[in-house]
Subunit: 238 residues, 6 copies
């Protein structure tokens, strides 16, 4: 019934390749079905001006898409001279999600930038980016511990994300592009392994949805992210 | 207990002044407590390229803040040469919210741009903008009906928005700036008079929140927007 | 004979609302007929690099227009990514006019930025901006005196501005939009209460004008600004 | 008494080299003392959208300064990515001045862009640009007549410009950089050979100036431009 | 003696993965040692304005580098708002190289954009991009033939590129980053399988080099590209 | 046989006017046939951040073209808001060429920016710019010696540039615009008086060229630059 033939509560095939990028302190190539995002975490000593002297660190994210990650070629944002509103919205979301599980006091005055670049897009790129970014961030902190820059990994939670939607009245998990284009509503959930909600962004694409439907999507998201937490831990050897 | 002294489920004082702007086809100055946003709806015959020949109309929004709408002066975006990610995120949200209750087929190939400019900011500007923009949009459509450009007002719902948050563990309605700065979590709800959810954007500012807390915030939002729907109708003489 | 029905030497109805903006150290909403400009003066400790160590202060201005301040909607400069030549020309004029009556040595190393944002445009916005900006600037300095940041208000003059023009061969005072569009020539005069000329900008729109005509326009401007000086003083309670 | 040793009513040495640029339809290198501006007039068939179908032509100007035209090197505007407010103000002034003496109906739907590029700056560059631009524009129209594109030169006046100022209380003509930096007030006058005023822009640099002083500056400007009109005609062989 | 331990005339290990990108009409992931570049060729019906009506096609290229492709993170060009001079220089080179072996008349009025995005950088990225881009372009044309859009592949040559340099006085082939940083001179050669030179760009990094040295570098390049032509053909199954 | 009527190995008429710009520490107006480039060298105390504390100086270049330097008017880069890829490529080339013959350790921590602005273009502007820039740079260093800022001129070589090309199968020296437009291949050579190659940039415009042809072009370039070295020395009085 779904274009993908998946059950309503079935994730796409997930693959996490930690350490994919050769130069970054932490990295992870995440694949969810056809969607593929390269996440790299870069450690830098400099810190934004508003944090100087506070003893706190900074975690931020940037997001991009290769011009031909999509079915038809999109403009290169660097050539157009600015990032789209969509790009900025996504990278702000990724950054907030990562900061929500980071103990920035324990981190000290350093910064980590996680770059999430979409190599192939087939729906759910922002959620895949968050799930992969967690692994890259973890590895970057682990690198800092190995280098004696940090005493321990300053993470206070584990975060992953998945999109859910109403497809022909049925709540379904992990929309791909075909499903997303035809969904009545979709919602992105950023959840923690401890069961908390970090971000929820629900949008009615066709008609407004109900509280009950929102709850049904949230249940699917909890089920989906529980599998993603397992995949993250497996990738990290935990 | 709230800095504002309000009850947890108490909205700020709301005022809607329809027809505030002299030149616009529809306009509304909305004040929620100290927050003040001028919403103007401009009707134009031209339509974005991707809609030409489809018979559908377009509704979009732009958002801005006067440099000294805030406690300390912010940079003027026009002088800096670009709109911030926050600005773009907000104007995309307003546009989606308005399109969700517009019958764009009935509207025909015309476009309406709703400008939401914050004259004074004290928290909740994006929600106030949506609530005021609905009134401006309604009036612009009414103007088109009066001019015989449209046969009837092509709206299929009524939309309003309010922010809720967890303040010292208590769910509270309609955060002002002081409350927002200190909230554990906050969520913006865009709801329809028919009880549907158009947009929900919840963010954990300090610690992740629970499903029960999300539900409690949603109940507050329903109560708050029911008052806003009344205020909109009163302003429109309905 | 004038589209407005006013006598040649008659100003539009003028209203000055001091303290209109809640957060600014000084502010004034000025209305001249339909034209309405919100002027806010923001005090900041930082100073442009070229003044550091000189003991002198800085007064500058920025100008903007809400997209639908005009009869038909104009592009938002922040969205277009740059301020127009007209905008820059106007804000440079306002800044120079304010600096001309400020004792920047007495002011010390602080800066005041006066934002002039046009809420409704019907001709004469730059002149209204200057007249209103004087009140906002005065109030900001008064605020500094009340806070013991300054010993006395460092103003050495009082400034106001008005546009005059040749309309069907007759010199007329304070052009509105309809008159301005059809004027043969127009000139903006920035004058002081002491009778001095701070700025004069005259432009032939159709045919060159004569020295005698320039003098006639200047006389009208003197008469017009003398009323504006009274209105400023009344608004300031002087 | 003037730093330049000139009499108060003495112009700098003026030189106009018509046809200086090899490719342009009209051009003139103007030198006033040390200030040197290359003016080229380019004829193009395309016309701005707002003029299509009106039968009217367009005359516009652009202004620039070589980075080392000045005593110390200035940023290259192309490298900085935008034209300064000063540059835009000047090029708008030049364009208005040229349109004031052009019969745009007789010109027909074509456009002429006059580029004024300052090779060496020593004060008065905008005025020199206008005086030189007139010659370049005349020659471009003459070229159109020679090519049978136009029946006659569609100019209805002759325009030139000069700056005057108050230097140690004395009105002086044609300020150079040293004088301009130290003037109490300065004014740029764009005048026609028929005795009309096209533009006047007076600015008090130190203290406001009086009506009598403005008149004295205007008399100097008339005397100065009468010499410039002669130089233009000599250069054009008229 | 080389940091890489390679012989002076030894290429890095080369790998070409045709069809790597899922959506593009043609693609190739090229790896030369650690350097890795993803090349995608996108076929589009639209053509630059200057070619409309000429019957000729267009081949162009864009180049980018993921922010953490390098040893330390570089700014994201999309976030900075412009492409660097280096980026533009490289993408112009790739485009010229591809056009040099394309029969644009046979291609007809369509365009192909080849995006070359560096996933990992270790020297020689522009040369790897050209070598990989040829394969992507070939596959895109093959796709057009399969779709009956073209009768035959409109390529009139085969192109590949390699950098050579003088390292401690010795001419060496295919510089990696460590060698490049320390080379006295380096030259990029874009050569055809038929033995022709399409582009040569030689630069003295320390001291000028001699004609004999340039010749020696060219001989190495010929030897290196002959291996690359073989690798391209193998990847294409030719 | 050449459009210009010149012999294959004949340079255009060359003229170097040292000291042409009044304010710059060093300058030279170079004319090669119709092509005319104004080169000014500006000495500044500030230095790029990456060189602070290294004791080394910096030499860089910027390139521009007046809008009507060309046969038809080109856009003004300052108005368009960015420098073209071609402009950036050229100014990077000029900068590298000058640094190749400068002893930056002997120069100490100061910087020289050489601006090369094309007044009239007829082919070969980048080569003329390099040849003229050398003279401007030499004079700026000489100025520093005269001012006792430097003990001696920190140049370790003499540099000049010329373009050569294949025109109707014949190698020809110093292409003008007509020849360049129709050349099969062209190459720019930046050579030193000591016989070394600083830069070579060869491009096949129509068909790939051979090693023998590259050598023939290099021989012509050597002959051409030997004349240019003489002209430089004559202009410098050496």
């Amino acid at each position: 019934m779904r274009p993908s033939g998946r059950f309503p509560d079935q994730l796409r095939d997930v693959e996490l390749k930690p350490g994919f990028a050769r130069h970054a302190e932490g990295s992870c190539l995440i694949r969810m079905g056809v969607t593929e995002v390269l996440c790299t975490a870069s450690v830098e000593a400099r810190i934004p001006p508003f944090l100087r002297g506070t003893g706190k660190g900074w975690v931020t994210a940037e997001y991009g898409m290769l011009p031909r990650a999509t079915h038809t070629r999109g403009d290169r944002e660097a050539a157009r001279g600015k990032q789209s509103g969509r790009t900025q919205e996504i990278q702000r979301l990724i950054g907030r999600s990562l900061r929500a599980i980071t103990d920035r006091n324990a981190m000290g005055e350093m910064s980590i930038t996680v770059d999430c670049d979409v190599l192939t897009a087939d729906g759910g790129t922002r959620c895949a980016a968050i799930t992969g970014a967690y692994v890259a961030l973890y590895l970057a902190f682990k690198h800092c511990v190995a280098k004696n820059v940090l005493a321990k990994i300053p993470l206070i939670g584990q975060v992953a994300a998945v999109s859910c939607g109403l497809y022909k009245e049925t709540p379904v998990l992990d929309l791909d592009y075909a499903e997303d284009s035809d969904a009545q509503a979709d919602a992105n959930f950023v959840l923690t392994a401890a069961g908390g909600i970090v971000e929820v962004q629900g949008t009615a694409e066709q008609a407004p949805f109900s509280e009950a439907q929102l709850m049904a999507l949230l249940q699917l998201a909890k089920s989906g992210t529980s599998q993603l937490f397992g995949a993250q831990n497996a990738a990290l050897g935990l």
